[in-house]
Symmetry: C2
Subunit: 100 residues, 2 copies
Amino acid sequence: MFDFEKLDKTIHEKGRLGIMTLLATRPSWSFQDLKAELKMSDGNLVTHLRTLHDAGHVAVTKEILDRPQTSYALTAKGRKAFQEYLAVLEQIINASRPHP
Amino acid sequence: MFDFEKLDKTIHEKGRLGIMTLLATRPSWSFQDLKAELKMSDGNLVTHLRTLHDAGHVAVTKEILDRPQTSYALTAKGRKAFQEYLAVLEQIINASRPHP
DNA sequence: TTTCAAACTTTGTCTTGCAAAGTATCGCTT
DNA sequence: AAGCGATACTTTGCAAGACAAAGTTTGAAA
Protein backbone atom coordinates (compact mmCIF):
# COMPACT_ATOMS: atom_id res chain seq x y z
CA MET A 1 0.00 0.00 0.00
CA PHE A 2 2.81 2.36 0.88
CA ASP A 3 6.41 1.94 1.90
CA PHE A 4 6.90 2.71 5.51
CA GLU A 5 10.37 1.32 5.39
CA LYS A 6 11.21 4.23 3.13
CA LEU A 7 10.39 6.74 5.87
CA ASP A 8 13.99 7.69 6.55
CA LYS A 9 14.26 7.84 10.29
CA THR A 10 17.02 10.39 10.14
CA ILE A 11 14.68 12.82 8.48
CA HIS A 12 11.45 11.78 10.14
CA GLU A 13 12.27 12.99 13.63
CA LYS A 14 10.33 16.14 14.36
CA GLY A 15 13.22 18.50 14.91
CA ARG A 16 15.20 17.31 11.91
CA LEU A 17 12.13 17.34 9.70
CA GLY A 18 11.84 20.99 10.61
CA ILE A 19 15.43 21.63 9.68
CA MET A 20 15.18 19.79 6.39
CA THR A 21 12.02 21.62 5.46
CA LEU A 22 13.59 24.98 6.13
CA LEU A 23 16.75 24.06 4.25
CA ALA A 24 14.62 23.06 1.29
CA THR A 25 13.12 26.52 1.04
CA ARG A 26 16.35 28.47 0.70
CA PRO A 27 19.86 27.83 -0.59
CA SER A 28 21.32 28.42 2.84
CA TRP A 29 20.41 29.08 6.47
CA SER A 30 22.50 30.44 9.29
CA PHE A 31 22.59 28.72 12.64
CA GLN A 32 20.93 31.69 14.27
CA ASP A 33 18.08 31.81 11.81
CA LEU A 34 17.40 28.12 12.18
CA LYS A 35 17.46 28.47 15.92
CA ALA A 36 15.05 31.40 15.89
CA GLU A 37 12.66 29.76 13.49
CA LEU A 38 12.62 26.38 15.18
CA LYS A 39 12.93 27.57 18.75
CA MET A 40 15.43 24.93 19.68
CA SER A 41 18.19 25.08 22.24
CA ASP A 42 21.73 25.42 20.93
CA GLY A 43 22.72 21.95 22.00
CA ASN A 44 19.68 20.31 20.55
CA LEU A 45 20.00 22.11 17.24
CA VAL A 46 23.68 21.40 16.86
CA THR A 47 23.11 17.76 17.60
CA HIS A 48 20.40 17.41 14.99
CA LEU A 49 22.49 19.25 12.44
CA ARG A 50 25.39 16.95 13.14
CA THR A 51 23.16 13.93 12.70
CA LEU A 52 22.03 15.25 9.33
CA HIS A 53 25.57 16.12 8.40
CA ASP A 54 26.82 12.66 9.35
CA ALA A 55 24.13 11.22 7.12
CA GLY A 56 25.47 13.34 4.28
CA HIS A 57 22.31 15.37 3.96
CA VAL A 58 23.61 18.71 5.06
CA ALA A 59 26.70 20.73 4.18
CA VAL A 60 28.30 23.09 6.67
CA THR A 61 30.04 26.32 5.85
CA LYS A 62 31.90 28.35 8.43
CA GLU A 63 32.79 31.91 7.75
CA ILE A 64 33.58 34.90 9.82
CA LEU A 65 31.81 38.00 8.69
CA ASP A 66 30.80 40.49 11.27
CA ARG A 67 30.50 37.70 13.78
CA PRO A 68 31.42 34.08 13.33
CA GLN A 69 28.62 32.51 11.39
CA THR A 70 27.96 28.95 10.36
CA SER A 71 25.66 28.21 7.49
CA TYR A 72 23.88 25.08 6.51
CA ALA A 73 22.57 23.86 3.20
CA LEU A 74 21.19 20.69 1.70
CA THR A 75 23.60 18.52 -0.21
CA ALA A 76 22.48 16.95 -3.47
CA LYS A 77 22.10 13.72 -1.58
CA GLY A 78 20.10 15.41 1.12
CA ARG A 79 17.79 17.02 -1.37
CA LYS A 80 17.17 13.73 -3.06
CA ALA A 81 16.57 11.92 0.22
CA PHE A 82 14.17 14.61 1.28
CA GLN A 83 12.23 14.40 -1.94
CA GLU A 84 11.88 10.68 -1.47
CA TYR A 85 10.70 11.32 2.04
CA LEU A 86 8.14 13.80 0.76
CA ALA A 87 6.97 11.24 -1.75
CA VAL A 88 6.10 8.92 1.11
CA LEU A 89 4.21 11.74 2.81
CA GLU A 90 2.22 12.18 -0.36
CA GLN A 91 1.48 8.47 -0.40
CA ILE A 92 0.19 8.79 3.14
CA ILE A 93 -1.98 11.74 2.29
CA ASN A 94 -3.41 10.02 -0.73
CA ALA A 95 -3.98 6.74 1.05
CA SER A 96 -5.73 8.56 3.86
CA ARG A 97 -8.55 9.77 1.71
CA PRO A 98 -10.84 6.76 2.16
CA HIS A 99 -11.30 5.25 -1.25
CA PRO A 100 -14.93 4.91 -2.36
CA MET B 1 6.09 29.49 8.16
CA PHE B 2 4.47 26.31 9.36
CA ASP B 3 3.46 24.98 12.72
CA PHE B 4 5.79 22.33 13.90
CA GLU B 5 4.25 22.40 17.31
CA LYS B 6 1.12 21.03 15.70
CA LEU B 7 2.92 17.89 14.65
CA ASP B 8 1.24 15.64 17.20
CA LYS B 9 3.98 13.48 18.58
CA THR B 10 1.60 10.67 19.37
CA ILE B 11 0.79 10.34 15.70
CA HIS B 12 4.15 11.28 14.27
CA GLU B 13 6.07 8.24 15.43
CA LYS B 14 6.70 5.96 12.50
CA GLY B 15 4.85 2.92 13.72
CA ARG B 16 1.83 4.83 14.90
CA LEU B 17 1.72 6.90 11.74
CA GLY B 18 1.46 3.62 9.89
CA ILE B 19 -1.40 2.50 12.07
CA MET B 20 -3.26 5.78 11.74
CA THR B 21 -2.85 5.77 7.99
CA LEU B 22 -4.25 2.28 7.69
CA LEU B 23 -7.12 3.02 10.03
CA ALA B 24 -7.99 6.03 7.90
CA THR B 25 -8.44 3.87 4.82
CA ARG B 26 -11.05 1.50 6.21
CA PRO B 27 -13.75 1.61 8.86
CA SER B 28 -12.04 -1.11 10.83
CA TRP B 29 -8.92 -3.25 10.99
CA SER B 30 -8.23 -6.46 12.83
CA PHE B 31 -5.12 -6.87 14.91
CA GLN B 32 -3.87 -9.57 12.60
CA ASP B 33 -4.31 -7.50 9.49
CA LEU B 34 -2.50 -4.55 11.02
CA LYS B 35 0.28 -6.82 12.12
CA ALA B 36 0.64 -8.38 8.70
CA GLU B 37 0.55 -5.08 6.88
CA LEU B 38 2.95 -3.27 9.18
CA LYS B 39 5.21 -6.21 9.98
CA MET B 40 5.43 -5.38 13.63
CA SER B 41 5.90 -7.68 16.57
CA ASP B 42 2.86 -8.36 18.75
CA GLY B 43 4.24 -6.46 21.71
CA ASN B 44 5.23 -3.47 19.70
CA LEU B 45 1.94 -3.25 17.89
CA VAL B 46 -0.14 -3.62 21.03
CA THR B 47 1.87 -0.94 22.76
CA HIS B 48 1.40 1.53 19.94
CA LEU B 49 -2.30 0.77 19.76
CA ARG B 50 -2.62 1.32 23.48
CA THR B 51 -0.83 4.64 23.18
CA LEU B 52 -3.26 5.70 20.49
CA HIS B 53 -6.18 4.41 22.49
CA ASP B 54 -5.03 6.26 25.60
CA ALA B 55 -4.87 9.42 23.51
CA GLY B 56 -8.48 8.84 22.49
CA HIS B 57 -7.59 8.35 18.85
CA VAL B 58 -8.52 4.72 18.47
CA ALA B 59 -11.48 2.62 19.54
CA VAL B 60 -11.12 -1.05 20.36
CA THR B 61 -13.71 -3.71 19.76
CA LYS B 62 -13.34 -7.26 20.98
CA GLU B 63 -15.49 -9.96 19.55
CA ILE B 64 -15.27 -13.66 19.24
CA LEU B 65 -16.08 -14.92 15.83
CA ASP B 66 -14.31 -17.96 14.56
CA ARG B 67 -11.34 -16.99 16.69
CA PRO B 68 -11.12 -14.19 19.16
CA GLN B 69 -10.58 -11.06 17.22
CA THR B 70 -9.90 -7.52 18.25
CA SER B 71 -10.66 -4.73 15.88
CA TYR B 72 -9.49 -1.17 15.81
CA ALA B 73 -11.01 1.94 14.34
CA LEU B 74 -10.47 5.66 14.43
CA THR B 75 -12.59 7.63 16.83
CA ALA B 76 -14.06 10.94 15.70
CA LYS B 77 -11.36 12.65 17.72
CA GLY B 78 -8.69 10.48 16.15
CA ARG B 79 -9.90 11.21 12.68
CA LYS B 80 -9.87 14.91 13.35
CA ALA B 81 -6.42 14.82 14.91
CA PHE B 82 -5.13 12.85 11.98
CA GLN B 83 -6.55 15.31 9.50
CA GLU B 84 -4.84 18.12 11.31
CA TYR B 85 -1.64 16.14 11.22
CA LEU B 86 -2.04 15.63 7.50
CA ALA B 87 -2.60 19.34 7.09
CA VAL B 88 0.85 19.96 8.55
CA LEU B 89 2.31 17.40 6.17
CA GLU B 90 0.77 19.32 3.33
CA GLN B 91 2.27 22.51 4.66
CA ILE B 92 5.64 20.82 4.68
CA ILE B 93 5.23 19.57 1.13
CA ASN B 94 4.16 22.97 -0.10
CA ALA B 95 6.88 24.82 1.76
CA SER B 96 9.46 22.44 0.37
CA ARG B 97 8.90 23.44 -3.19
CA PRO B 98 11.41 26.29 -3.29
CA HIS B 99 9.41 29.37 -4.07
CA PRO B 100 10.54 31.27 -7.17
C1' DT C 1 -7.92 -32.10 28.43
C1' DT C 2 -4.62 -31.12 25.32
C1' DT C 3 -3.79 -27.98 21.73
C1' DC C 4 -3.69 -23.99 19.12
C1' DA C 5 -4.06 -19.22 17.97
C1' DA C 6 -5.14 -14.44 19.33
C1' DA C 7 -4.08 -10.85 22.06
C1' DC C 8 -2.13 -9.27 25.31
C1' DT C 9 1.79 -8.32 29.49
C1' DT C 10 6.28 -8.38 31.21
C1' DT C 11 11.00 -7.77 31.00
C1' DG C 12 15.12 -5.93 29.53
C1' DT C 13 17.99 -3.46 26.41
C1' DC C 14 19.35 0.26 23.80
C1' DT C 15 18.68 4.38 21.49
C1' DT C 16 17.47 9.04 21.43
C1' DG C 17 15.71 13.55 22.48
C1' DC C 18 16.51 17.39 25.22
C1' DA C 19 18.08 20.97 28.33
C1' DA C 20 21.48 23.11 31.18
C1' DA C 21 25.85 24.25 31.88
C1' DG C 22 30.41 24.59 30.41
C1' DT C 23 34.11 25.66 26.69
C1' DA C 24 36.60 27.76 22.75
C1' DT C 25 37.01 31.34 19.47
C1' DC C 26 36.58 35.51 17.47
C1' DG C 27 35.56 40.64 17.35
C1' DC C 28 34.84 44.88 19.76
C1' DT C 29 35.44 48.10 23.41
C1' DT C 30 37.80 50.38 26.98
C1' DA D 1 46.26 44.28 26.72
C1' DA D 2 42.18 42.91 29.29
C1' DG D 3 37.69 42.19 29.61
C1' DC D 4 33.11 41.54 27.39
C1' DG D 5 29.71 39.49 24.62
C1' DA D 6 28.11 36.64 20.94
C1' DT D 7 28.48 32.42 18.18
C1' DA D 8 28.88 27.79 17.92
C1' DC D 9 29.81 24.11 19.77
C1' DT D 10 30.71 19.97 23.65
C1' DT D 11 29.64 17.63 27.70
C1' DT D 12 26.72 15.75 31.02
C1' DG D 13 22.77 13.75 32.77
C1' DC D 14 18.20 12.38 32.67
C1' DA D 15 14.00 10.65 31.04
C1' DA D 16 11.23 8.76 27.60
C1' DG D 17 10.34 5.61 24.30
C1' DA D 18 10.99 1.97 20.74
C1' DC D 19 11.53 -2.71 20.17
C1' DA D 20 11.99 -7.72 20.57
C1' DA D 21 11.65 -11.98 23.00
C1' DA D 22 9.48 -14.64 26.05
C1' DG D 23 5.84 -15.57 29.03
C1' DT D 24 0.60 -15.31 30.14
C1' DT D 25 -4.35 -15.52 29.46
C1' DT D 26 -8.41 -16.80 27.18
C1' DG D 27 -11.51 -19.19 24.35
C1' DA D 28 -12.55 -22.80 20.75
C1' DA D 29 -12.02 -26.83 18.64
C1' DA D 30 -10.29 -31.55 18.43
